[in-house]
Amino acid sequence: MILVVAEQRDGILNRATWETVAAAQQLADGSADRSIAIAILGSNTATAAKELAAAGAKDVQAVIVVDHAALELYTPDGYVAVLESLVADLKPSRVLLPHTYQTRDFAPMLAARLGRALVTDVMRMKTAGGDTVFVRPMFQGKLTADVSPQGPTPHLVTFQIGAFRGDQVTKGASPTPVRAMTVTLDAAAIREKPEPPFREARQAVDLSQAERIVAVGRGIKGQEHLPVAEKLAAALDAELAASRPICDAGWLPMERQVGSSGQTVAPKLYLALGISGAIQHLVGMKGARTIVAINKDPDAPMFEVADYGIVGDLFEIVPAMVSELTKT
């Protein structure tokens, strides 16, 4: 059995959970024991559990709900205690988790407690001769490694956000049964006392957290043309960023600079306007999931890393995009 650990906050399921289910299905496919269980922990998990069950995802035998007042807010001690006993009960062959900030907080502790291998930040899997190796970045993405977890099972694996697609989970007709599991959890034994999460208006620009980025390069020609890019950023709910020459010239502040001497970013969408793609820039953004290049020069190296490219004048294309995006 493969155990997927779902993630929720305030009863709302984190979408990355579906990506992990997709990964689990891929792993289950072709193995003798195809069964998958999804565990969800919290104190108000009914809605999220229902959502998980409703999909009736292929091979998922059960949605296991661990509801406990002490799990209202996430704590590593609480989560590890519950998952440790779940693993003891279910004896899964693998425990899969999304590589979220929350998982990063407790998964290594769970692995250490269980004495089991943990492979983090996995981008894809390869199976060869019955052995599965997990492909993950190393050296900040400059290399990729095929990694084989060692030692007794269950092996723990966390998947990079966006590496699998949640919408590719194979669904079934009938909902998955939901099973409540009671655990004994001593609230007093939880050493961490969390306060409710809060949103903070960031003082500084934090491009590393941005989901979408519109970046401008020399092709923007002058500071007076920046509004062209700003309008597109607004229409896409994106942050504005730039290559070094733009910040060097003082057209945008330095904290908006992407590249080896600026920020390293990994947004879902990186739209490069008039950026040729010097290697110094590419190392700062090639981890983006979808890259778009708009440039006059068809030989610009940016096109080599782009998923979509338009060879042309950004001053014509960008306003057309804005009007397309704002069309209702």
Partner: protein, 253 residues
């Protein structure tokens, strides 16, 4: 307050590593090395805690002899002494082995706070600090953006995704992994460099029988897996098609 900070020496950020012939590790003979960036922030935070609350800062590092370079740098910035678990195998070891090696020399020191970077710029497991906490039997918090100490309680601000944060309190002793950018790094001073020479660096062997929990089967330079789709047509047509693709194909907007 007795503060430990665990630092790792990693290849310089701008260097492009190459896999070795067996593709199980990198050719590092031409590599330059430097302090893992998040660890540098952890060190700075440790020094600030010491300035506020008194005590000492002890640098702990696990790695081959060359690690002495970053240990000296940390001492020059103001750490008081250092412990170096020295073993060539630690350069490519996994997080469990490194955490066990560190724990072996840290157990008896009874540190109040252990700080380290949230992950390393080389293998990037993001596990060592947390595994170390478990080995030392301490609570922990990761991706920490602010640290407050009130008597024997630690209150830290953790970064969550998407602009969310959370304060978490826990009793001392504890282990924290520090996010880059939490503070501004100080520069080493001439006096600091001179003082560092007189500071103690204790060397210890790695404990016997440590087991790697993951094996690198093959290391490679990432190949471009995607094919660039060039969109043609008039600017208006191309813009329209691009927006459609971003919505329906890439699903990023």
């Amino acid at each position: 307050m007795k503060i430990a900070v665990c630092i790792k020496q990693v290849p310089a950020r701008d260097w492009q590593p190459r896999p070795n012939d067996s593709k199980t590790w990198i050719v590092d003979r031409d590599a330059g090395f430097e302090m893992n960036e998040p660890d540098a922030y952890a060190l700075e935070e440790a020094l600030r805690l010491k300035e506020k609350h008194g005590g000492e800062v002890v640098v702990c590092s696990a790695g081959p002899a060359r690690v002495a370079q970053v240990i000296r740098e940390a001492l020059a910035r103001g750490a008081d002494r250092a412990i170096h678990v020295e073993d060539d195998g630690l350069a490519s070891a996994d997080a469990f082995v490194v955490a066990d090696a560190l724990a072996s020399v840290m157990k008896d020191e009874n540190f109040d706070v252990v700080l380290t970077g949230l992950q390393s710029d080389d293998q990037g497991f993001g596990q060592t600090g947390v595994v170390l906490a478990e080995r030392l039997g301490r609570p922990h918090a990761t991706i920490v953006m602010e640290v407050q100490v009130v008597e024997r309680t630690l209150r830290v601000k953790r970064e969550l995704e998407g602009g969310w944060f959370q304060w978490v309190a826990m009793p001392l002793p504890a282990v924290l992994t520090i996010q880059s950018g939490i503070n501004q790094l100080r520069y080493a001073t001439l006096k600091g460099i001179m003082a560092a020479k007189k500071k103690e660096i204790r060397k210890a062997p790695a404990p016997a029988g440590l087991m790697m929990r993951q094996k690198i089967v093959s290391l490679s330079v990432p190949e471009k897996t995607k094919k660039t789709r060039i969109i043609t047509g008039s600017p208006a047509e191309a813009a329209k098609e691009l927006v459609r693709l971003l919505r329906e194909d890439a699903r990023v907007i």
